[in-house]
Symmetry: C2
Subunit: 380 residues, 2 copies
């Protein structure tokens, strides 16, 4: 194996596949990054067996030559060093070649690294997926859908299926849902083309995989293809493949949990509500229960309060654009509402209640593609 | 106690004094920030008994009214909440008043915090220092002196006096020295006025105090006054006093450690040497000893190498502006040299050796106000 590659292009690819590599794996070869060199270009692979990322650098495209291939071949190099090393290399190009026994030389400018490589034959092959269930989304839309749901997954392993985001399709829309059983975040997106044939349900993608994917996704409306199978999901970007295993188990039916009729509805400015809850949380966080109380007043105002026996009490009034329906006093986990408000991009939000003891919903006021559901907290 | 104060001014003062407050103190009252209100203005105090910081906000200066004093008095409030609370208050001014039993109300805009205060009589008084040994320095010069020495203090408590920076005066200069017994950093500064009367020696300021002070110092050439006593040092800024206790014990005599004659001298570009050592450290850090090897070559070049049995080897050539004297092979702790190079602001540095087994020095090429000394490492 012997090639010379553009520095910046190579560093970016190595950093991408390195996101899948874990130093805590029990399979030693997976601490490495695999390089495959053919006349077409260089393919890098990183994997922790849950997530696998494959990045391809073509030898050339229409305008630019990225790689000069001198000899085809493969090698696996320790990811932790390799990623740091290539980042710190001084030259505009990097020459890499393998000698006997996987001894690998990395040369750039006046710097020479001699690295102990590992046998590429030991590296597991990535799965070949059946591509019969696929759909496309703009990259920035997928990035939003992940950001607006993944924070709500459970961090507890008691119900493993809740540590993932559930992906399903319905009436030409795809829907992401996450819940830790105290709060739920749901985000829909319409597919650009009619896809009545598409049937996706109970596809539960680990939250960790989506967090890593979101670091790679860029803020462009280039399309990304999503391929779903029974045990894997594959996100296909230009020159990058992101594989994740799916979580086993039946995801709970969440649609029936969402109330349809409301007794009290508030419409208010997101930023004011967020700042008010952040202040209230200063004290309720100290009381270690995050409990914040909300009470409707006259004059389209609500009162937000929280108490810490040790530190003191905070009381503040927040103006609403509108309050409809019955008077209300309710207590909830303020941290959960803050998390949801932070991922809502709209300026105005609606909160709809069905009484002090029932779940309530929070939505952007200007569209219905997103919904957050919360259980109240009993304070007596 | 009752006053109304400008939001931004107050937040800044609270953040300053909060730097001295530790949540791990054994004296409960020191978890608080003390407020003293007189007709002159508001004084805030924070302390962990090693460091004490006092910040004063005058009721008014020539142009602006900062505080409206309604009633004089004092209170102590829990620092951790208070600092967060004032930062998140919405209004442009903050009203604070104390009722019975130290119950304190903090009001801003439509927000009201009721906080449990503590008895200000319990708060320890700050020392009154004899001001007979004092000198002045520009704030940015003191900031540089701290940054360029404090990284070299010992982090081990086996010789407590080495965890501080030694301050001394000599021939109208003040000198800061730090050493962990493997490396030493020294920085001198000339005093603006002749001060032959000034005698400062063995004034050892805890590294931790100087790190906190450096967060408060600003990049201006306004003068700061330094007051030295046998057990305390006081840094006097406009409206801010920073007290630190001194470390007990005799600081080692370091002047005699610095070699005066050299066998090999290199002059090279700081940035190139730094980047080369950072690459070498990638492998030597893994070998857990940070050992980097340097060898002079012909052609005004040196070779930098390091080895990790597990990962591999790096070799690189660095061009020098000049190499004078004997050929040399030497090994050293690369991390220590990197730390020193990072605080040197000059573009060119000189490294002077007295043989492979003797300490060597690193200096900026353009002035002699700074010196770094290192022990070599034996590699056989």
């Amino acid at each position: 194996m012997h090639f010379v590659i553009q520095h910046d292009q190579f560093v970016k690819s190595v950093q991408h596949v390195n996101k899948a590599v874990s130093s805590r794996t029990t399979i030693p070869i997976l601490t490495g990054i695999k390089m495959d060199v053919t006349s077409e270009g260089v393919t890098l692979t990183g994997s922790d067996s849950d997530i696998s990322i494959e990045s391809f650098i073509p030898a050339q495209d229409e305008e630019t030559e990225y790689v000069e291939i001198k000899e085809e071949g493969s090698i696996v190099l320790q990811a932790r060093f390799f990623a740091d090393i290539v980042k710190k290399l001084p030259g505009e190009s990097i020459e890499i070649y393998v000698q006997d026994q996987f001894a690998t030389t990395v040369r750039s400018g006046s710097v020479v690294f001699n690295l102990n490589g590992l046998d590429p034959e030991e590296y597991p092959r990535l799965p070949k997926l059946e591509e019969d269930r696929t759909f496309c989304l703009p990259q920035n839309l997928l990035k939003d859908m992940i950001r607006q749901t993944v924070f709500a997954v459970s961090t507890q392993e008691t119900r493993p299926v809740l540590t993932g985001v559930n992906l399903e399709s319905e009436n030409g829309e795809v829907i992401c849902t996450a819940t830790d059983s105290h709060r739920l975040a749901m985000r829909k997106a319409s597919l650009e083309t009619e896809r009545e044939d598409l049937v996706i349900s109970n596809v539960v993608i680990p939250g960790k995989s989506l967090n890593e994917l979101n670091k790679i996704l860029e803020d462009t409306d280039d399309l990304i293809e999503v391929v779903v199978t029974d045990s894997q999901v594959l996100f296909k970007l230009k020159h990058l493949l992101f594989f994740s295993r799916l979580l086993d188990g039946k995801y709970p039916v969440t649609k029936t949990m969402i109330p349809g009729q409301f007794k009290t509805t508030l419409e208010l400015t997101k930023k004011e509500m967020l700042q008010s809850l952040e202040r209230a949380l200063l004290l309720s966080r100290e009381a270690k229960n995050n409990v914040v109380n909300l009470k409707t007043l006259g004059n389209n105002e609500i009162e937000i309060t929280s108490v810490s026996v040790e530190v003191g009490k905070v009381t503040e009034k927040v103006s609403c654009n509108e309050i409809e329906g019955e008077e209300l006093r309710i207590s909830f986990n303020g941290k959960n509402i803050i998390d949801a408000l932070r991922v809502i991009d709209s300026e105005t939000v609606t909160i709809s209640f069905t009484g002090a003891m029932s779940p309530f919903i929070l939505q952007p006021a200007d569209h219905d593609q997103m919904l957050h559901l919360f259980s109240p907290v009993r304070t007596y």
